[in-house]
């Protein structure tokens, strides 16, 4: 069994009582709430409030609820479960109020105190949040799993029993996970003590889209990097969004420990999913204080961004071409990429490659926000938010889509029928060509010296 499949549920042997709003959080958030001067800028950025007037918006969910809550035994308002954790409000606030941190902690308290552990909702959310633990099963029998999840009867059952939107098609499992491929291949083909990265592939590119992870390997080896693939758990993003802070804490502990060890070995951490990098960079330090949390945050990068800063990616791409398989793209920058200042990067870089262009479809949210749009009760909201992006995709001069977030990609496909690619796949085709064997190891030998 590879590392990725080792069950980690029973690895944290000592039982930790769930402590919502730990002391660190208390002292952190108080001044944050006081910094709010009620300008409502956050409310203008919230995609949920824009389509649902029952959602009171980030200003209420954050600083106002926080103040109320401190006064007496005020319960967390149930509306916090309608927040999709897109974190757009965070980058709106001119006063640096830590809105998503407040939402994440409030959600955890709400789930802990107000959601019955025996309810369908709790188990559905737990299942969605812990996709990482179900995925190995699907990956073991991918064809059966794909067949079963594709059956309309399964979808109907999913909706009736679990409240998972019947309109959605569950993502397909790859017949070979990325980690299986990596092991079979014999791991890294480039050794280089000066240029080393630890790849945080996340769940999705391991179980569902290993082609994205392989593209990353090809691109990085092309530049002469030694790639480490440390043991890892889910980034925690779906758990934050479902108020399962303890599940997230357990996953984060593994990740911080393993990634910190890789950093000690001279690696920087890179991620190919923008929600994973967001989680490691921002949510971990906001919510946890394991040793090395900060070190991991400071040394984590988006995979493309890292190359831009450490290599001359622009010159390297200038004048390259991609084959027939890629044409122009309708590009959507995921909210979690936007929040990290990565919004313009893909359009800038792809413009340098002959034969493709990425057309930005605007700054609207895709609406799916991880597990949010999977829930039957949020499906309509999710599609209403996405409508603007679908329109812009239809209007763009392209019939294929491009993004760096796995769930945005599902939503784009669901709303338009377009096939969706990851930026790394296009870069791999431009820099290394598309041959399955082209690992770039030879090309890089020269560069790595």
């Amino acid at each position: 069994m590879s590392d990725a499949e080792r069950p980690t549920d029973d690895s944290g042997d000592e039982f930790e009582p769930i402590e919502v709003f730990p002391e660190a959080g208390e002292t952190d958030l108080r001044p944050g709430a006081d910094d709010c001067y009620k300008c409502s800028t956050c409310d203008t950025e919230c995609p949920v409030a824009e389509v649902d007037d029952e959602f009171p918006g980030p200003k209420f969910q954050g600083p106002e609820q926080w103040r109320l809550k401190r006064q007496d035994d005020h319960d967390i308002d149930e509306s916090v479960m309608k927040c999709s954790n897109c974190m757009r409000c965070d980058s709106a606030c001119p006063s640096d109020v830590p809105l998503s941190q407040m939402h994440n902690t409030a959600r955890a308290e709400y789930v802990e105190e107000n959601v019955s552990k025996f309810s369908r909702e709790y188990w559905r959310n737990r299942m969605l949040a812990n996709y990482r633990r179900l995925a190995p099963l699907g990956a073991m029998f991918p064809r059966t799993a794909n067949f079963v999840t594709g059956l309309s009867a399964t979808r109907w059952l999913g909706e009736k029993l679990l409240g998972i939107a019947g309109e959605r098609e569950l993502p397909e499992f790859a017949t070979e996970t990325f980690r299986e491929w990596w092991t079979k291949r014999g791991g890294a083909r480039v050794e280089n003590s000066d240029k080393r990265i630890a790849y945080f592939h996340g769940c999705y590119s391991n179980y569902n889209t290993p082609e994205v992870a392989k593209a990353l390997v090809r691109v990085y080896e092309h530049f002469g990097y030694e790639i480490m693939v440390p043991e890892q758990d889910c980034s925690g993003t779906p758990m934050f969004a479902n108020g399962m802070l303890e599940d997230a804490r357990r996953a984060a502990e593994t990740n911080v420990r393993e990634l910190a060890a890789a950093i000690d070995d001279g690696a920087d951490v890179v991620a190919s999913c923008s929600s994973c990098s967001m989680s490691l960079r921002q949510e971990y330090p906001e919510l946890f204080d394991f040793e090395d949390t900060e070190a991991v945050a400071e040394n984590t990068w988006d995979a493309v961004e890292y190359l831009r800063v450490h290599e001359d990616l622009e010159t390297e791409l200038e004048g390259t071409a991609v084959g027939e398989e890629f044409d122009d793209f309708a590009y959507h920058a995921p909210c979690h990429a936007r929040n990290q200042g990565l919004d313009g990067q893909t359009v800038e870089l792809l413009g340098l490659i002959d034969g493709v262009e990425a057309h930005d479809v605007g700054d609207s949210c895709s609406g799916i926000s991880g597990t949010y749009g999977w829930k039957a009760e949020n499906y309509e909201t999710s599609m209403a938010i996405g409508a603007e992006m679908f329109d812009h995709m239809d209007d763009a001069d392209a019939t294929a889509g491009l993004t760096e977030c796995p769930t945005c990609s599902m939503q784009m496909e669901h709303g338009t029928g377009y096939e969706i690619t990851h930026t790394l796949e296009v870069l791999a085709a431009a820099l290394v060509g598309d041959g399955a064997d082209a690992t770039g190891a030879n090309a890089t030998g020269a560069r790595a010296e």
């Binding site: 800028t41 824009e50 007037d53 200042g341 919004d343």
Partner: protein
């Protein structure tokens, strides 16, 4: 490796966007880095040039003659009146049909949500049918769920202010909105998408339902004013549709923050940036800088070599030949104050202010507040000056609310200063590229 460009603009408000657009016209590589949402989200979307003189005279019917009398150090004095005209023309080119007012030097008089009349140089097309100089009678419509605009009160104030027409106000229920604190973006979205809503007369679409709600209240007025929530992406279509159904002109009354006309202006500017090929990075702040060799000889001012952008913990270097600082004033966080001093946080440029904190303000809240003028002093090329009037850096210019020497709220000059100085700073930065 740093990410490299010719001109790097720090700040994505009206000043920064204008600077980037003006620079990129000169065929140089321009990047704009902006941290948070700009004050455009609060601002009315009106482009004020000068409504009152620094001495409080006004409202001015024509701002241009008054520009000549501004004190030394005022941003308009630094760039000159001709640059203000050029910048407005530049803005007109970008805004196209979305803005009006270019046909005359005179200030237009726009009714505000409080029922006052505001002198402004350019106004959104959505506001055009509402001008106070127009003598057609007006019906103002407010919504019970939007307490910031009390239509009957605003109408009474307008009449009290002596407008040349009869104004009447009614308050109605906005079809499809239940919550009394629904966000302005919710109203806009309902109308943009013409969503289906429940009304007493059965299900209908939002625009039809709104028109039907207002129709019985019309008493022969030929124009109807709504608070500025009439659509976002498709605001023109929403307005035209309502006007069609009601058979009268429809206009918007600018509202306080958060403001849809401000949001629309922001979208317009960011679309223009993207069309012009400006590289835009948002959501991350510039936190630090490094200097390289000195300019002319070792005695000249230092040159900024690169700046550091903080990406959620990782520090990403960005380098350029010329830099523009457009980080806003006390609201945009381009100027900061603590109990000790007032400072500019990115490049630590000099911000003159009295040593004694008690001299930063005067007791009379309506008095001439020194803090309102806090900001950077610059030379006529908009390059920041240190305490000895020497250049802080050879390749840095500043624009917009980060500049000192003006009180935008009292003078009603906010957007005009951002436009004029953004335009000049952007152009000169591009010209200065090696």
């Amino acid at each position: 490796m740093a990410i490299e460009d010719d001109v790097l603009v720090v700040g994505g408000g009206l000043a920064g966007a204008t600077a980037a657009l003006a620079a990129v016209e000169r065929d140089v590589r321009v990047r704009l880095v902006s941290h948070k949402q700009s004050t455009l989200r609060h601002a009315s979307g009106l482009i004020d040039v000068l409504g009152y003189t620094p001495a409080g005279e006004g409202p001015l019917s024509d701002p241009f003659p008054a520009l000549a009398d501004l004190p030394e150090g005022h941003p308009y004095e630094r760039v000159g009146a001709e640059a203000v005209r050029d910048a407005l023309a530049f803005f007109d080119g970008i805004a196209g049909d979305a803005y009006a007012g270019a046909h005359t030097d005179a200030n237009a008089l726009v009714p505000t949500h409080g029922g006052t009349v505001k002198p402004t140089a350019r106004y959104p097309a959505a506001t055009a049918a509402g001008l106070a100089s127009d003598d057609r009678d007006a019906l103002l419509v407010g919504f019970g769920t939007l307490p910031d605009f009390e239509a009957p009160l605003a109408a009474a104030h307008l009449e009290g202010a002596g407008v040349p027409f009869a104004a009447r106000g009614v308050t109605v229920r906005f079809p499809g909105i239940e919550r009394d604190d629904a966000k302005v973006t919710r109203y806009a979205h309902l109308l943009d998408r013409d969503e289906r809503v429940e009304t007493a007369a059965g299900e209908s679409t939002a625009r039809t339902a709104l028109a039907e709600t207002v129709r019985p209240h019309l008493e022969g007025e030929s124009r109807v004013g709504f608070p500025a929530v009439l659509g976002d992406d498709r605001a023109d279509a929403v307005r035209a549709d309502l006007a069609d159904r009601l058979g009268v002109d429809v206009f918007e009354v600018p509202m306080g923050p958060p403001s849809l006309p401000g949001l629309r202006l922001e979208d317009l500017l960011f679309d223009a940036l993207s069309d012009a090929g400006v590289r835009v990075t948002t959501g991350v702040p510039v936190v630090d800088y490094e200097t390289g060799a000195h300019g002319a000889g070792s005695s000249g001012p230092a040159r900024i070599d690169r700046v550091t952008v903080d990406r959620n913990g990782s520090e990403v270097p960005h380098s350029a030949d010329q830099y523009v600082l457009a980080t806003g004033g006390l609201v945009g966080k381009g100027v900061e104050s603590d109990r000790e001093r007032v400072s500019e946080p990115v490049f630590d440029c000099h911000v003159p202010h009295p040593a004694d904190r008690y001299d930063w303000f005067v007791d009379d809240v309506f008095g001439d507040q020194p803090y309102a003028r806090f900001g950077l002093p610059v030379d006529r090329d908009l390059r920041p000056l240190d305490a000895d009037d020497a250049l802080e850096f050879a390749n840095l210019r500043a624009a917009g609310a980060v500049l000192g020497g003006h009180d935008f709220a009292a003078e009603k000059s906010g957007s005009g200063v951002s436009l004029a100085t953004g335009y000049v700073a952007g152009r000169r930065a591009a010209e200065g590229c090696r």
